[in-house]
């Protein structure tokens, strides 16, 4: 069965919104980070869907790059979260309040 492109786009838009809402509402740095990954993956899904729809391989190629970048970002992000946890013993972003106004 052939699935039309609209469904992919709606799914990826939904994933993107879930990611944005997650970033805005969640307080745990790791969950915020997972939401960011969700945003990247929704872009990946859009890219793959368009790539197959247009019959053009550039989109799929881009997705490989994005996955590599997302992995690097996760590594850097977790390292930074650990560095913060060692200093403050919490990763709740509401308690990050030394730097303000």
């Amino acid at each position: 069965m052939h699935i039309q492109i609209e469904y992919y786009l709606i799914l990826s838009a939904f994933m993107f919104i879930v990611g944005v809402v997650g970033v805005l509402t969640r307080r745990n740095a790791i969950v915020v980070f997972m939401s960011i990954e969700l945003m990247l993956n929704s872009a990946n899904l859009t890219m793959v869907a368009f790539s197959s729809y247009l019959g053009n391989a550039v989109g799929q190629l881009f997705v490989f790059f994005v996955m590599a970048v997302a992995a690097a970002e996760a590594a850097v992000g977790l390292a930074i979260i650990i560095a913060l946890f060692r200093n403050k013993l919490t990763i709740n972003i509401d308690e990050l309040n030394i730097l303000k106004w």
């Binding site: 970033v23 368009f50 850097v76």
Partner: protein, 502 residues
């Protein structure tokens, strides 16, 4: 496509600066491993390789071509004088920053990790050089991420301090979100046009049956990612926190180099993607898809006003400079809003001068913080009497940042206002002028602390080493000289306005 070895070697000619930087990264890593005990070699290697890179960048002023072009399509990179200028700004800032780092007591604390420090700096440089000449959305995204990931780590480099790791995490979260939003925009643009190359997208969207509203949305999503890098107003929330928390050399670096790369990318993105034609007076006729003029004017007025007014009640010098850097992003965006080659000229002149004065201001703040251990304004009380060189220099840099004659900052603002008035954007020019008046207040407030408060017996006397004196003069003399004799900088800028294809 014929992928002969000659073809590859020929294409490599166009990315010589990037190649030198890549080789230096490897060299620094290995030097750090082999000469484990002698960390002082690392800055020397870095400075030498920056000079070599600079030589190859100067070569690029004569080039105007695509590089890494697969057969039958436009290239991934556009090598042109415009890019070469911004690469020079980045390299100049990197050169100064490495000299900063040698002196910074914050960086000295973690001397066993100096190898990583210089590697990450060079990672940032590589990302910026690619971002400046990238003409393909894939390359834009990847090089922007290379730049961002290195700077997240550098912002938290002295990881023992809480302020540092907090800044780093905030930078990472804001950066991750904005790059995610930008990526989503890129994916939509790819879906609409079927291409990722800016030049190809430009020729594809000339057709009128384009889904207009989607394209506008996608462009704004991409603008979000770039706006984050240049710290323009609705995307500026990270700036004060990261600037305050990061080590001072890194803060200075973010405020010049990262912003220069962001602006080069923004100008290339807007001009190349949306242009229809350029008239004889140098005004750009953009495609009737998105009203960039109104949009950029709104963003820039918001940045200026918010940056200047929030800076009024800051007591931390780094935070004050962060808000001032948001305000300066607003001024610089006005040069883009004019949508003409004259506006571009104004941006280039502004950047050339801004690099000197802003790095200078950060240098003085760093030297004072090295001694007193804080950037609080109350610690500056009476320093004008005990440390005259530093205070006079700081005064000159701040006057230049305000834009008063006879300093170079005046020339920068002058060209910007000329471009605005030529384009008959008088209202905007008046708003920018009023903002400059507001900014005078907070810059002068620092001078008040320096000179109008009597020196107490415990006011520190801050000695300046010979190297630092040279460094201060290197930044101070151009700030003064270009204020009076600015023909060379204008001539240089006139060479640099030419973007590939236009």
């Amino acid at each position: 496509m014929e992928l002969s070895i000659n073809y590859i070697l020929n294409e490599l000619n166009f990315i010589k600066p990037e190649l030198v930087i890549s080789i230096s990264i490897v060299l620094i890593v290995f030097t750090d491993l082999i000469f484990d005990k002698r960390k002082q070699i690392l800055p020397v290697i870095s400075l030498i390789s920056l000079l070599i890179t600079g030589y190859f960048v100067i070569e690029q002023f004569g080039m105007n071509t695509f590089a890494i072009a697969p057969a039958g399509s436009k290239g991934m990179l556009a090598v042109d004088p415009f890019g070469a200028f911004f690469k020079m700004v980045v390299l100049f800032a990197s050169f100064i920053i490495i000299l900063f780092s040698i002196n910074s007591s914050e960086i000295k604390l973690s001397s066993d990790r100096h190898g990583e420090y210089y590697t990450l700096i060079f990672g940032m440089i590589l990302g910026m050089l690619f971002v400046i000449s990238a003409a393909d959305l894939i390359l834009i995204y990847i090089s922007l991420e290379l730049l961002s990931l290195s700077s997240y780590v550098l912002a938290g480099f002295t990881k023992q301090s809480l302020r540092n790791s907090e800044a780093s995490l905030k930078y990472l979260i804001y950066g991750g979100v904005s790059s995610g939003i930008m990526l989503f925009g890129i994916s939509i643009i790819y879906g609409i046009t079927g291409s990722t190359n800016l030049y190809e997208i430009n020729s594809l969207i000339q057709a009128p049956q384009l889904p207009n509203i989607t394209f506008i949305l996608a462009s704004i999503l991409i603008f979000t990612g770039i706006g984050f890098k240049i710290s323009a107003a609705p995307f500026h929330f990270w700036t004060p926190d990261v600037y305050e928390g990061a080590p001072i050399p890194i803060t200075a670096y973010l405020s010049i180099a990262s912003k220069a790369a962001g602006f080069a990318l923004l100008i290339r993105f807007v001009k190349v993607t949306f242009i229809q034609s350029i008239n004889t007076e140098g005004y750009w006729q953009l495609l009737n898809i998105i009203d960039w003029k109104t949009f950029v004017v709104l963003i820039s007025i918001l940045s200026m006003t918010l940056g200047n007014f929030a800076a009024l009640w800051q007591n931390n010098l780094k935070r004050l400079l962060a808000y001032s850097s948001i305000a300066h992003a607003g001024y610089l965006l006005l040069g883009l809003a004019v949508l003409s080659n004259q506006g571009l000229l104004a941006i280039i002149i502004y950047f050339a001068i801004y690099a000197f004065m802003n790095l200078g201001a950060f240098l003085i703040v760093m030297l004072i913080a090295n001694k007193t251990g804080s950037e609080d304004m109350d610690d500056y009380n009476g320093l004008g009497f005990t440390s005259p060189l530093l205070s006079v220099s700081l005064a000159i840099f701040f006057i230049s940042l305000t834009g008063l004659p006879p300093t170079a900052g005046f020339i920068a603002k002058l060209y910007l206002f000329i471009a605005l008035i030529d384009a008959e954007m008088i209202t905007v020019a008046v708003i920018a002028l009023l903002n400059t008046v507001v900014s005078l207040y907070y810059y002068v407030r620092v001078l008040k602390h320096l000179y109008l408060v009597k020196a107490e017996p415990d006011t520190p006397i801050i000695g300046v080493s010979a190297l630092n004196t040279v460094l201060i003069l290197m930044l101070l003399i151009p700030t003064l000289v270009f204020g009076i004799y600015f023909t060379p900088i204008v001539d240089f800028a006139k060479v640099s306005v030419s973007l590939l294809g236009f």
